[in-house]
């Protein structure tokens, strides 16, 4: 009996301890501390004073990782050799895992374990955006007149990596969501293969025409998609000016405290239009990565990232599997703006007190942002070129002529440049909140709950998650 009590006590202690460990806030923040170092560097040279190794953690995989390695090798053997800078490229697992590692380092206060450059997704940067170890790119730009001209960078991608009006990171692997479609199926359904749907209402008629059933079973879905943040990040803001999913400008002006889209009617309006598409019965609404299904003919249209372009061109278009059509993401309605949102990752510099490493990191970033390197990145992946001047290079022009599908990426960038606030949000518990929103919309799609319930559930659940985070972190 006595033992049982001791055991119960012990278990409860252990459980509560694990809760604290899970939510313990990270290191103290002090963003003003970076200023003195900036002035210090301004008086000196903008190159490292001694040979230096710059550690670069990334989360790219497969052929994109190969392309990144090629770039780093080229830098090390050219500019790097001249300046005594060696970039050490290290894969640190997927975004989430790399971020876990980073928060472990910060909580252990093991600054010497920090990388000098780290690629982080929206989820990763959220946790460390106010860390004293982050050295904003803005500081480099301010002291190095010949560094990077911010006006040359893709405007949307630049805003993606800005926090409180300050450039925090260098935009790196940024992409937008777009529509890919099967032109052969368009022809078979009697649709003009050179004309894609432009609004959700039109999308509905296209989906209906393209869906092929045999008996009760659907042989071809008109559309394969999932209403992730990536898509909502375009569909919500395009309904007007200053429309956001979350308050605090989707987390670019501070940690979001509440949902905005459930209150200002934007989610309701989007879902009203979206229900027209769902009503066709030809939408596979639960598929995160419809690429394989699109390739195999299961989907006549799909929403996917511009960064899928390279593989779609090489696996579908160039193999002659079928003729691929590309278009911008359909607008919510005719009144929507023509901007498309942006998501992805940026590169951030960590400053653990070694000026040489920091300046080495900056030099490498300048190299990445040159038109030539940006152009290679764009042509081999479908990510936006960091430096928009890349599109004027003769080799890039020739490449686009040979691969005209890539034109759509330029079109999206051009149409979106006046709408730099259409961004993937920086929110706490990114994955949880994204999943909650998706699951509620899936319930609506199945018909198991109506629009009003969906919106109120999203509002309730997401705001609860946000509140829990804010309570636990004393904000």
């Amino acid at each position: 009996m006595k033992l049982k009590r001791i055991l119960a006590l012990f278990v409860s202690v252990v459980m509560s301890a694990s809760i604290f460990v899970g939510c313990g806030s990270s290191e103290p923040t002090d963003s003003t501390k970076t200023e003195p170092t900036a002035t210090k560097a301004a008086t000196g040279s903008i190159l490292p004073s001694a040979p230096v190794k710059v550690t670069f953690w990334h989360s790219m995989k497969g052929n994109i990782a190969d392309q990144l390695k090629k770039t780093v090798d080229e830098y090390n053997s050219s500019e790097g050799t001249k300046k005594g800078i060696t970039v050490d490229l290290i894969y640190q697992g997927e975004y989430d895992e790399a971020s876990t590692k980073l928060s472990a380092i910060l909580q252990a206060d093991a600054a010497n374990e920090l990388p000098d450059i780290m690629q982080m997704s929206s989820k990763g940067i959220f946790d460390v955006k106010e860390s004293k170890y982050i050295y904003p790119i803005q500081n480099f730009v301010d002291i190095d007149a010949n560094g990077i001209n911010l006006n040359d960078l893709n405007a949307n991608a630049l805003h993606y990596a800005m926090y409180n009006g300050k450039v925090l990171g260098l935009p790196f692997s940024n992409s937008s969501v777009m529509l890919y479609y099967n032109k052969d199926m368009f022809k078979a359904a009697g649709l003009d293969p050179n004309k894609a749907p432009t609004t959700l209402e039109e999308l509905a008629t296209y989906v209906k025409a393209l869906t092929v059933k045999s008996g009760d079973k659907i042989k071809t879905f008109g559309l394969g998609t999932k209403t992730r943040f990536f898509l909502l990040g375009s569909w919500i803001p395009m309904q007007g000016s200053e429309k956001y999913m979350f308050d605090n400008a989707d987390g670019r002006k501070g940690t979001p405290t509440t949902l905005a889209m459930t209150k200002d009617g934007t989610l309701d309006h989007f879902l009203t239009e979206w229900e027209k598409v769902l009503a066709t019965g030809g939408v596979d609404y639960g598929v995160v990565s419809p690429n394989e299904g699109f390739q195999s003919g299961l989907y006549a249209m799909m929403t996917a990232s511009t960064s899928s372009m390279a593989s779609i061109v090489s696996k579908i278009q160039n193999t002659g599997t079928f003729d691929v059509g590309v278009a911008e993401l359909p607008r919510v309605d005719a009144n929507s703006t023509k901007g498309t949102g942006i998501g992805g990752s940026a590169l951030y510099v960590f400053d653990a007190g070694n000026d040489d490493k920091r300046l080495g990191a900056w030099d490498f970033m300048k190299y990445l942002a040159t038109p030539k390197v940006s152009g290679d990145w764009f042509m081999n992946t479908g990510y936006y070129a960091m430096n928009s001047k890349a599109y004027d290079l003769p080799e890039v022009k020739t490449f686009i002529e040979k691969n005209p599908l890539y034109n759509i990426i330029l079109t999206i960038a051009d149409n979106s440049k006046d709408y730099p606030n259409y961004l993937e949000p920086w929110v706490p518990a990114f994955t949880d909140i994204d999943t909650t929103v998706q699951n509620e919309i899936i319930k609506l799609s199945e018909g198991s709950q109506d629009r009003a319930t969906t919106i109120s559930n999203i509002d309730k659940k997401v705001n609860m998650t946000l509140k829990d985070y804010l309570d636990a972190n004393g904000q």
């Binding site: 997927e94 590692k101 390279a310 696996k315």
Partner: protein, 278 residues
Amino acid sequence: MIPNKIIKAKSIVESVFSLALGILIAFPLFYAFMCGFKDDATFDSYPPTIFPKDFTYFDNFKHVLFDSLVPRFMLNSLLIAVVVTLVRLLLSMFAAYSFAFFNFKGKNVLFFIIIGTMMIPTEAVLIPNYITISKLGLLNSYVGIMAVYFVSAIQVFMFRQSFKTISSSLREAAFLDGCGDLQFFFEICIPVSKATITALSLNSFVAVWNTYLWPLLVTNRPEMRTVQVGITMLAADDSGVKAPIFAAIAIILLPTIIIFAFGQRNIVRGIASGSVKG
């Protein structure tokens, strides 16, 4: 008396059921092996095929074995899994021995504290463990990866249960004849627990072989990585090339399968010998 016919029918049903279950479980593994032999076009074909066009297509395996760090990763994982399994066994058995045979103050409390750790999810101790390992200066070392696995509560518990089946009067009798604790441990406890030892070492080897996040956290150098991290490095979300991943999976699964094939016979033998003695 149950008629022979019914027994026979029952055994046929059992066999068919086991066979079906076996196929169901083995199929994904088999499919992964087959995919390793597929070229890109066969891999992507729709409807998908089970068998590759050509079993002499070795490019994927060559890529994994010669162009990637996977062999090095396997060596790392092997080292870690073997050392951890051995150290774990030894420590758990010593701990279990004292819990089973010794009487000391706070014995039960201590035991429940150890058992209690089983309720803490691994995710919750990930960062505290990192901090500990970092303070000990063991980051980026094999010892750093292994240290947190050296003691396993479930093993302590299992061995204690196993040792408890040995009657304490046997131990007293042995001690009267001049046997000491170490001798009793090695000559009586270990042989009696053969089945438990086999089962737990297999389990521990496979578990450590499969760990992913912890080795990734404590090491920075690519050449220190383990196999599971290695697989993810081969994959890309939006790029098409997936066949080499299957080749890597096939290669990485081999040690587990071999060990299991050998181990399974030992488990049966261990149980059989235990029952004869009992």
